[in-house]
């Protein structure tokens, strides 16, 4: 009897020890994986940041690693001048933010329409939203290019000016497409909003209706306010993607003076041409400074919004 009791006790304490060892090993494994992957993500950014402060001598000195011996801001000065940084960035932010606001309004409206109303062919139309997500823009790029090159809605342009209008080279095509709910990844945003509105209780709207609120009033003042988590999610996504987008900017030949990420791709050529710096290793330092410069505003906004963003993602309708 005594023996059995002792056996059980040792077994219990053994298993407790085993468990804690197991837990410790798992925790360590988790720590290693997370730190490792964070390193993979952060390392190149750190590398770019460091080399943007390097002087020409440091770039060729094999002893220099992570800490430049003669840090300099000269690269930044040149790049700011060549990019015409502040005015261009201002225009780009204006362009991006205005498109973002349009995206949020239009996509939430469409998502709400699909979530709360019944009309003929609703299922079919929603399938069209899914088609929009799935079809890559490259499939329709040529017709879009042609449409905006000879822009002639219902022959109106011919009627007024005598010939079709060429909208390429201006940001108008992008605004037009976004306004009609077909902007950059609009399908995805419509989907997110639709999922979110479907999850909200119907009683809110019924109460508003009983109190005499119209459909539009209900939508703007009540539903949109309740949809803040997904509004933030969509706002962050649309801003970041719009800011980084070069595909539409290239397709519609939107000026470099509006889209700064387009300007960065020609930066090394400009530096080579204007400052007569032909060494590719040194050119890379200038490019690194340029990249840091264009990343700064978006990272600032992200750091500011990231708490709301991650909370918003968890509560918003990404999950159906």
């Amino acid at each position: 009897m005594q023996k059995i009791k002792i056996d059980a006790q040792t077994r219990n304490s053994m298993s407790a020890m085993q468990r804690s060892v197991k837990k410790g090993i798992l925790g360590l494994a988790q720590f290693v994986v997370i730190v490792g992957i964070c390193y993979v993500i952060v390392a190149p950014i750190l590398g770019i940041l460091v080399s943007s402060f390097m002087s020409d001598g440091d770039a060729y000195n094999p002893m220099v690693y992570m800490i430049p011996t003669a840090p300099t801001l000269q690269k930044y000065k040149t790049v700011i001048a060549r990019l015409n940084y502040f005015p261009t960035m201002g225009r780009d932010l204006l362009y991006t933010l205005s498109l973002m606001i349009i995206q949020v309004f239009i996509c939430s409206m469409v998502g709400y329409g699909f979530a709360r109303f019944n009309f003929p062919f609703k299922k079919l139309l929603f399938a069209c939203v899914v088609v929009m997500i799935v079809i890559p823009t490259n499939t329709i790029m040529l017709p879009l290019y042609m449409t905006f090159k000879n822009f002639n809605p219902f022959g109106l342009a011919t009627l007024i000016k005598g010939k079709s209008i060429n909208l390429l080279g201006t940001p108008v095509p992008m605004y037009l497409m976004t306004f009609l709910g077909c902007g950059l990844r609009s399908g995805l945003y419509i989907y997110i909003f639709n999922q979110f509105f479907r999850g909200l209780p119907k009683e809110i709207e019924e109460a508003a209706f009983v109190d005499g609120a119209g459909v539009w009033y209900t939508y703007f003042r009540i539903m949109l306010m309740n949809a803040m988590p997904s509004v933030i999610t969509v706002a962050v996504f649309s801003m970041v993607w719009q800011y980084n987008d070069t595909f539409y900017a290239k397709l519609f030949l939107i000026s470099e003076n509006i889209v700064i990420s387009k300007k960065i791709s020609s930066l090394t050529a400009v530096i080579a041409n204007e400052d007569k710096i032909l060494d590719t290793t040194i050119q890379q330092l200038y490019l690194d400074a340029g990249i840091i410069l264009i990343m700064v505003p978006i990272v600032l906004i992200y750091v500011f919004l990231q708490r709301y963003f991650i909370e918003g993602v968890e509560r918003s309708g990404i999950v159906g």
Binding site: Q30, V33, I34, I37, C38, V40, I41, V42, P44, I45, G47, P62, I106, V110, F117, N118, F119, L125, C128, V129, V131, M132, I133, V134, I135, P136, N138, T139, I140, M141, L142, P143, M146, T147, K149, S164, M177, L180, G181, C182, V215, W216, V240, W241, N244, D245, T246, S261, I264, D288, I291, I294, M295, Y302, Q306, V313, E314, S316, V319, G320
Partner: protein, 304 residues
């Protein structure tokens, strides 16, 4: 009794609802439906642009298709490699992001910072930045000289990859599987940077699993392993489809075949051929999507 004239209250409401989606509907018809039709039309004809900015189409039958598949130098190869790469990448990205989402969903110190770092790749996802990052990465892992191949990257950091490969070969692991794993490890960086949005979707999915289910599993004495396969995995399953669709589309948009179509269009000014390439690759991707989704859907468990 007279028939009531006009619309009922419900009908009126539905008309208003239609107003909500009207802008999108107009946009969809003008920009998407019409464009898809035009792409199909272009691919079946020879297009010549005129000086005034207009263009004329000349019926060419299937000649563009025949040219793309029979005579074009690289189209077939690029198409096959793009699709094979996609088929390799999609499961990797899906499982990696599920794994990371589970890790990030746990409570540990510094979780906020780690999460912020994990979503950085979504922010820095533009062409110019990516190429500069690639260079910075090789510089970080041992200077320019060692940037020759991804394997040598790892070798520079003191890990003898060949030794490990040999080791696993001696354990009689199938060569194909080994190749797959080695390739996956070598491209860990591409995988991480492509799985930002997927991780977000999975985290949201994990958050939506009711905690009571885990309690029950614990009371019944399920191990962590069993809990994962019996609770977490089935509950996350519906979102795997969302993620697979997103990954396939994202991967396709960045693939070489799309780039080839772009170059054919704007560098070689061969509009008909470019449309053919786009259309063929899109149709193939859509077929893959339908097949994969059908396959997963059969195995999916829906809670509600």
């Amino acid at each position: 009794m007279k028939r009531r004239r006009g619309l009922s209250l419900l009908q009126k409401r539905n008309v208003k609802g239609f107003m909500f989606i009207l802008p999108w509907l107009v946009g969809f018809i003008i920009f998407y439906a019409r464009s898809m039709f035009m792409t199909a039309q272009f691919s079946l004809s020879t297009m010549t642009t005129s000086a005034g900015g207009g263009y004329t189409l000349e019926w060419a039958g299937l000649s563009n298709y025949i040219y793309a598949f029979r005579a074009h130098g690289t189209f077939k190869q690029v198409l096959t490699t793009s699709i094979l790469n996609m088929l390799v990448d999609v499961p990797l990205i899906t499982f990696f992001s599920l794994f990371m989402a589970i890790l990030l969903n746990r409570k540990f110190k510094g979780r906020t910072i780690v999460r912020a770092i994990f979503f950085l790749p979504i922010i820095m996802n533009s062409g110019a930045i990516t190429s500069a990052m690639e260079l910075a990465r090789t510089m970080m892992s041992g200077g320019i000289s060692s940037g020759a191949s991804e394997i040598s990257d790892a070798a520079a950091s003191g890990v003898d990859v060949a030794y490990f490969i040999e080791l696993f070969k001696n354990l009689a692991m199938p060569d194909k599987l080994l190749d797959y794993i080695v390739a996956a490890v070598a491209r860990i960086n591409d995988i991480i940077s492509a799985s930002g949005v997927q991780i977000i979707i999975f985290i949201a999915a994990l958050q939506s699993i009711p905690g009571s289910m885990y309690e029950v599993a614990k009371i019944e004495g399920a191990t962590a392993y069993e809990t994962f396969w019996k609770v977490t995995f089935p509950m996350v399953m519906p979102h795997i489809i969302t993620n697979v669709v997103y990954t396939v589309v994202d991967n396709f948009a960045k693939s070489d075949v799309v780039q080839l179509a772009y170059d054919t269009c704007f560098n070689e000014i061969n509009y008909g051929l470019s449309s053919t390439m786009s259309l063929v690759s899109t149709v193939i991707v859509c077929v893959i999507l339908v097949l994969v989704c059908g396959f997963i859907q059969k195995r999916t468990f829906y809670y509600n």
